[in-house]
């Protein structure tokens, strides 16, 4: 009986892994192929030859394979590099702003009850229900008027509509589980704000870190706003800079390589994050 269960478990695990990895692998294998064998029909499971040329092309250099095939540099490379830098900039700034604004808020909301709390909380959380498309339209119009299209500043502001609600929800739940250390601080003579800054924040830094990292991932992956607001401008972010590859079939290996690069920060982060997410034990913030 027991052996059967183990067998089913391993079978399930194998299926799970195949399910998870196949979509990623199926596209990423393109990044390692040359233009000749990219369009082979039927599509192959395992390529015969693998090259790293596409990655090098992405950054603007030619690459010659062992067999002497020339892989020309991608014409988009300046865009790609600019996109990477802009994405990084926007994501970091948006995350910093989010954390500075939300950590104190989540602290007060998780500890105290007061009159407008539920209303305020609901409004923040309800802004999650707004589709980016809906907020994009007025923002687009406003930005056209204010000349903020094509600026990183403008993009950062809209990105906040994604990061703030999520971080609020997450941190309030997390903070509720922290023991009531304020009492101790007040007896020892720390003022409210000092208790928060010097005692509470160091204590809860794990949760804060997780929230910041998730906020970064959300900003990094953001596409809708960027595609409308900064596409083709100097403020282009990574997703939009590679969207010019998107409907361009001649060089799918470049797109694949670019995608792979773009996935790396979230990959790495998620890898280390998975332990913390399940330990977070998040509590409903409205209670």
């Amino acid at each position: 009986m027991l052996k059967n269960n183990k067998l089913y478990l391993y079978l399930a695990l194998v299926i799970l892994l195949i399910w998870t990895i196949t979509p990623i692998y199926w596209y990423l294998k393109l990044a390692f192929l040359t233009p000749n064998n990219i369009n082979i029909f039927p599509p192959v499971f395992l390529p015969d030859e693998m090259h790293f040329g596409a990655f090098i092309n992405l950054f603007g250099s030619d690459y010659i394979t062992k067999e002497g095939i020339l892989l020309p540099a991608s014409g988009q490379s300046s865009q790609v590099i600019r996109g990477l830098m802009n994405s990084f900039f926007v994501s970091v700034i948006a995350t910093i702003i989010t954390m500075i604004v939300i950590v104190p808020l989540a602290y007060t909301f998780s500890r105290l009850t007061f009159k407008f709390k539920t209303a305020l909380l609901l409004s923040i959380l309800l802004s999650v229900a707004l589709p980016p498309i809906s907020t994009l339209i007025p923002f687009f119009a406003m930005y056209v008027k204010l000349g903020l299209t094509g600026t990183r500043f403008g993009l950062i502001i809209v990105t906040l509509t994604i990061t703030i609600p999520f971080v609020t929800w997450m941190l309030i739940g997390y903070f509720k589980n922290i023991p009531p250390i304020e009492k101790l601080g007040r007896i020892d003579g720390f003022g409210r704000f000092e208790t928060f800054l010097k005692i509470f924040v160091p204590l809860s830094k794990n949760g804060i870190l997780v929230a910041a990292v998730i906020s970064f991932i959300f900003s990094w992956n953001e596409f809708t706003y960027a595609s409308i607001l900064v596409n083709g401008t100097n403020a282009v972010t990574f997703p939009t800079s590679i969207s010019s590859f998107l409907f361009q079939h001649p060089h799918p290996q470049h797109l694949s390589a670019a995608l792979f690069l773009g996935m790396l920060p979230p990959f790495i982060v998620a890898f280390f994050l998975q332990r913390y997410i399940s330990e977070m034990n998040i509590v409903d913030p409205l209670r």
Binding site: P179, P180, I181, K183, L184, R186, I187, D188, G189, F190, I199, P202, L203
Partner: protein
């Protein structure tokens, strides 16, 4: 050390009175226990005295100086919380030093006090460890050291032993009282455990529903409880109650109840005509073989503690407990009981 006076102290949460018009005086150097069930307002009272809560109305005086509006730090108090609350990310020595962080004491004086405190509480070997590495009892000692190092005027303790096992509680109880007598600091100790209250307090203030029902030394409260609540709350095994009514016959008063075989004559001192409960402690009722008995009940349970035996008898939905030294009946037998007339209380 300070004396503490509460004048008409009231604290409301929304519409609910957590503390209702409370008046209390704690003498200098006294160990006062605030005793009561959950929700009686004892912790709220303590929090008001500490300055962690602002009262809705009323005054708090330390040595006749009004501190009602002062923040905790300027009241020169120290507090030990439930589950020995300590800063989790600091080691014990740093935890203790934190109490002196906001004072203007010299560096060398601070270190001197930490050493003294850790010797008094025997925690020298724990100073480098973090709270999560310690056992419950050790954490309690560190929290106590953290409190005494400030040399405060008042100690406030909020059910500090609630999370510890029975054996540990016994040890720490006497150590804490001993320490307090040595330092002679006015102390208020909150608990729901009446054994702790009886064994530790100089006086006990029994609270219920936001008010002090009775205040007095342990013996006073034990022997002369002023209300049914206090009588039933203090003492283990608990007080016995028989429900019934008072009848007057031929100029004498009697207590009568369905389960009593005969009316119990009451002497004039106990002349409260509207009482409905006859009460007596388990050691004031005896098994008898005479015809001269008050109750005949079925045995529900027998608890043999070694030094005494508690016999639990069934009557209606309630139980009567009898303490006896030797015993030979079994569960479900019938026994006859007689109540000591000199130790009856009426409520």
């Amino acid at each position: 050390m300070s004396s503490i006076t509460l004048k008409n102290l009231t604290k409301k949460f929304g519409e609910i009175f957590a503390v209702n018009n409370q008046n209390l005086i704690v003498n200098k150097g006294e160990f006062l226990v605030l005793l009561g069930p959950s929700g009686c307002g004892k912790t709220t009272t303590l929090n008001c005295i500490a300055g962690l809560e602002i009262p809705t109305s009323g005054q708090i005086l330390f040595n006749d100086i009004d501190v009602t509006d002062s923040p905790p730090h300027s009241r020169n108090i120290a507090m030990v919380f439930q589950s020995a609350l300590l800063y989790p990310h600091l080691n014990c020595e740093q935890n203790i030093l934190m109490s002196l962080h906001k004072t203007s004491i010299s560096h060398s004086e601070k270190n001197k006090r930490v050493i003294e405190a850790s010797e008094m509480l025997n925690i020298n070997n724990l100073l480098n460890k973090k709270p999560h590495e310690l056992s419950g009892g050790e954490r309690q000692r560190v929290a106590t050291a953290k409190a005494i190092v400030r040399q405060p005027d008042v100690f406030l303790l909020d059910e500090p032993m609630a999370a510890l096992d029975a054996a540990l509680r016994q040890t720490l109880r006497s150590e804490l009282v001993n320490l307090q007598k040595k330092l002679n600091t006015t102390t208020i100790y909150v608990t729901h455990d009446q054994v702790e209250a009886m064994t530790m307090g100089d006086r006990i203030a029994v609270m219920d529903k936001g008010q002090v029902e009775q205040i007095g030394t342990p013996i006073e409260i034990y022997k002369n409880p002023k209300s049914k609540f206090v009588a039933g709350f203090i003492g283990s095994p608990p007080m016995n109650f028989i429900e019934g009514q008072i009848i007057k016959e031929n100029g004498k008063s009697f207590f009568d109840s369905k389960i009593l075989k005969r009316k119990v004559e009451l002497n004039n001192i106990l002349n409260k005509s509207n009482s409905s409960y006859l009460s007596f402690r388990p050691q004031h009722i005896h098994i008898t073989n005479d015809q001269d008995y008050d109750l005949e009940l079925k045995i529900f349970g027998i608890e043999n503690l070694g030094k005494e035996i508690i016999i639990i008898c069934d009557y209606g939905e309630n139980k009567i407990r009898v303490i006896s030294e030797s015993f030979s009946s079994k569960i479900n037998d019938l026994i006859r009981l007689k109540i000591d007339r000199e130790n009856i209380l009426l409520f």
